[in-house]
Symmetry: C2
């Protein structure tokens, strides 16, 4: 951020009075521009025991497999966002179920929220950002080619809970700014 | 948003190719400026059956009661944010527990995430944005003077679950753009 989105004049990094962190503050009108984590919402759609995966047709991680997920929009709930992403990326109409995972992706300033979902009818297709969509059994999940660590985490918790007959939710944190423990 | 934060030139609302919603797009450098919901994180700290409430010393809802909560920052988890807010608003060191509530506040483009929390030692005080802090029994909660509907929701679920001996999480949605059902 270099310029004020309100008045167009330059911003500089300074800690406002009473604040505890440096912010982008406009040198002209004084507006403080806060930057906060963005929500990514997605789901693991299941149909008769198999789950729906999408192969990415866009960067980052082009060619790798993921679940339907994307940035949450203003004006929608996280469940509505996850359903919209399933429609956009996999042309699939899903019913969103219970909360599965909340992943703090600190190096990306993102929070990923994933739900369980049901694909009642096995109808799906290739959305604009997708090159291939498949329903696959747990044994066939391409673990080496999963696009994002948060998706890997959500899928592993999904199958583990399914084995246990539970629908729990799981928090975790990834931070590539720090070496792995 | 009137100006591009990258180059300072004017932005206009248009739907980018391949997108489905109007965005602020720079007429100069073409940058698309997405706007997404912001996360507010908070907690209900409990000490020996009583919960901690803060009276707001700032707008909006000055003089009304709330729980420690505020905008999540980049670089922190939602639990860390809730702990930080307890420290800032109530000078209280809390241990964050289970997920209590996720409230989609559609008219404000916010998602409020509230946790249960434990205040091990009854030490607290008045932070910069707070005029009064109290530990109170359920019977003494000033329900008529709770600052925000999301906080009212979280507190009611908190006490209800405590009666049931459960620690569930609860999703809900508020939208002042629509008339109440």
């Amino acid at each position: 951020m270099k310029f004020c989105s309100h008045c167009g004049r330059p911003v500089s990094l300074k800690t406002p009075a009473g604040d505890h962190l440096p912010r982008h503050v406009c040198e002209g009108c004084g507006t403080v521009h806060y930057q906060n984590p963005k929500l990514v919402v997605g789901c693991v759609p299941e149909h008769e025991g198999r789950i729906l995966l999408c192969r990415r047709a866009i960067q980052p991680r082009l060619g790798y497999w993921t679940i339907p997920a994307g940035f949450m929009e203003n004006g929608e709930t996280s469940q509505e966002g996850a359903r919209r992403e399933s429609r956009e990326e996999a042309l699939a109409e899903v019913e969103i179920g219970s909360l599965l995972a909340v992943v703090h992706v600190l190096h990306a300033d993102q929070v990923h929220v994933m739900f369980r979902a049901r694909l009642a009818v096995p109808q799906f297709g290739v959305g604009a950002e997708t090159s291939e969509v498949m329903l696959c059994d747990e044994a066939d999940v391409p673990w080496q080619d999963i696009a994002f660590r948060s998706v890997d985490f959500a899928l592993r918790q999904y199958f583990e809970d399914r084995r246990l007959g539970l629908e729990q939710h799981h928090f975790t944190t990834f931070d590539w700014r720090k070496p792995a423990a």
